[in-house]
Symmetry: C2
Subunit: 255 residues, 2 copies
């Protein structure tokens, strides 16, 4: 996945760079991610209104939070470029990765429930997001039923996704979890026009482990074993899937 350049030294709000959308002439209409994002299937007028709503985009550098737990909830964020992780924090400091996000994904859905973000999203690489003020989005979806429907779908799909993670964490063994993880990434890269068999992980072994409920050593060992068994080829974070059929078998057709 291509990075956008850094913006070192540029003064910014909250460690990020605010960009007027008018300056950049990037609209939902022409966004390559629109088929994965909220505006799926909207007619011209609704799309135009949505464009108006996306008043700003923001860029973040690796490690910066797009939003943090406890912050008042004001907007959803649609990823244009780059990727991030969402982590849930326990009171005792325990932290767990709840998801990895790519272009077209919508962030911050958990904030709606209590007008406050319950988790945090952190950039895994330089990332660019569209800011969708939620009050305006609700108002707009109120005028355009198809947009409302899309919003409901996005929320519901997040629930479905979470259920699948629960299934993974609750009933699968380590090797199955990793197989599911790799196939899931493969699938999502493919949807975005990238290779389904070759990609570069944006996260550490520890972050993968956190997501899968495993320790980093276990993840590392599994990568080595999968490679030895000819399922994949690993070179640090560069992954090549060699035998997706076998992986699917391992994953119990979850991929």
């Amino acid at each position: 996945m291509p990075n956008i350049g850094n913006l070192d030294g540029v003064p910014s709000v909250a460690m990020s760079t605010v960009i007027s959308i008018r300056d950049l002439k990037t609209h939902c209409m022409t966004c390559s991610m629109r088929e994965l994002c909220l505006p799926v299937g909207l007619e011209r007028e609704a799309m135009h209104q949505l464009d108006q709503l996306v008043s700003e985009r923001r860029r973040f550098k690796r490690g910066e939070p797009i939003y943090s737990a406890g912050e008042p909830f004001a907007a959803l964020y649609a990823i244009r470029l780059g990727s991030c992780k969402t982590t849930v924090l326990a009171e005792d400091g325990r932290e767990q990765v709840a998801g990895y996000h790519m272009p077209g994904d919508l962030l911050g859905l958990d904030g709606i429930g209590h007008d406050r973000h319950g988790c945090q999203s952190i950039a895994l690489e330089d990332i660019e997001v569209c800011v969708l003020p939620f009050g305006q989005l609700e108002e707009l979806s109120h005028r355009f039923p198809p947009l409302q429907k899309n919003l409901h779908r996005v929320l519901s799909r997040e629930i479905i996704r979470d259920h699948n993670v629960m299934l993974l964490l609750g009933s699968m063994r380590a090797e199955e979890r990793l197989a599911v993880f790799l196939l899931n990434l493969s699938h999502r890269y493919h949807d975005r026009g990238y290779s389904a068999t070759e990609f570069v992980l944006r996260m550490t072994r520890e972050e993968i482990g956190s997501y899968l409920g495993l320790k980093l050593e276990t993840v590392s060992r599994l990568f080595s074993r999968f490679q030895q068994e000819g399922l994949i080829q690993v070179q640090g974070r560069a992954i090549k899937l060699l035998d997706t059929a076998a992986l699917r078998q391992l994953a119990g057709q979850h991929g």
Copy 2:
């Protein structure tokens, strides 16, 4: 929690009994669960419209599905009485409990995403639900912004809930999981006007285990140990919490 009576021998649609809401004069307005359900804080007119929408209620007996995976999605279900479990099914037949639901809870949210139910909800005891046709609900929420907001909140809170389960499954040990589970039930019974310290489990050890990512023997052993340590008193499915402070400590303040 009180049961409603069985309805043995009464002919029914889909193994359940359909009741005209007019006959029973039970409306959202007078429903004791409205503060936990969708109509929270709606004004009179919206509440009235919502009443109209709830055209039927259904009763199910223990073990019957309220809806099943793969069924076309048509409606949400609000629990009036009783409880149920939601289970996710993997392609290989593996099954996992994704949640337990009580009066006031809304079921079927995962169906919105693909117009098809992705999991199933099964009655744990005789249960009575209000049927909320989703098309009409969307249309109504379109006319009443506060209802729309409530719907968004409900969806988002389900996501938050799922995140907490992921945290539990991914990073907690068996005893912590069970402590969280007990405190969560306690909290929810309390919210519904029941005792926070004495309640009767509606599910088997195996179902608890499925939800917590543990085997039934482990759950059983933990119950015994908790009892031995004076944390709880167990008599089959009857539970009494004796030392909630210690449980909370165990749970890492997740309760």
